[in-house]
Symmetry: C2
Subunit: 198 residues, 2 copies
Amino acid sequence: MKGLPSVDRAIRALSRFPGVGPKSAQRMIFHLLRGEDKRADELIHALEGLRDQVGCCRVCHNLAEGERCWVCEDHSRDDTLLCVVEESVDLMAMERAGLYRGVYHVLGGRLNPLEGVEPEHLSFASLQRRLEAGVIKEVVIATNPTVEGEATAHYISQIVTPYIDRVTRLAYGLPMGGELEYLDESTLYQALAGRRSF
Amino acid sequence: MKGLPSVDRAIRALSRFPGVGPKSAQRMIFHLLRGEDKRADELIHALEGLRDQVGCCRVCHNLAEGERCWVCEDHSRDDTLLCVVEESVDLMAMERAGLYRGVYHVLGGRLNPLEGVEPEHLSFASLQRRLEAGVIKEVVIATNPTVEGEATAHYISQIVTPYIDRVTRLAYGLPMGGELEYLDESTLYQALAGRRSF
């Protein structure tokens, strides 16, 4: 922006976020500038809090503000049941669903050799150490239903099977509230292949 | 977010922005957290730059990183021609259009008694001082085509007419590339009322 390098810099920093283009970044910046110093200060403090306080759970790699995340701290959870997810956001989605009462392992991403994400970049080593401890009896694989998620699920199963008899995965099928008419073929294929007795 | 008050705080701070809901704020935060400390630092520094370096032009109230904005610093601009806009973003839109070569006056908003914006909250006093100096020969009113913008335009014209003979305003009419079929009636009304010889 002419004569305003610091505005340009803030717009560039914001437009790197997913879903934020230069236009919406500009709108956000002008909202900040209209709000006097208070709004900017609030956001700066919030971001400093994020940077300084949020880290990784030492056990499961979920986001945590201390050594362990709230799931690992919760002694009422069933620690013989382990769900492997790609990211902390997936863990949160699982928690919102409300059924699961076991613990988690957060990989920190999914295998994607084309983008340079190889097994050593994900938390497979610490997954293996947890399995070796012998407490876990069932592993639920909950990677995303994408090509990379599938490949990652396959890789997880290879690591897990030497230690655990019961390895399961989330079911594929019709999304609740969806209509067959608008459903893609591969989901319908999975729903049919995985049909259950009524 | 369970066990993560600093994430909650950052989500709240971000979702106050226009066009950012809690979902997209959460996506932005997770993008930050995935990017190690570097991304957060960049954004924090950019925001500090905004807070500490961007102020108001002493002459026209446009955003500026010094005493005067880049328009007021540009001696090739015609300072007998003054365009009154609501906000700095409107000035930028005018500049993108590319035709205007005069200077500006940024009001800092529009009159809106229902939301408590009265004349004393906008920069009318300094507009009057600029008119009294006697350099300006024409005032172009470029408020937004809304009810409040209209009211503000009316108020501006009352302030300006004692000093200036030539008070103009942006033309209303068909937007370029639009189709009559989809145009609202009031724009079409204005386009007809303001028709010009071909």
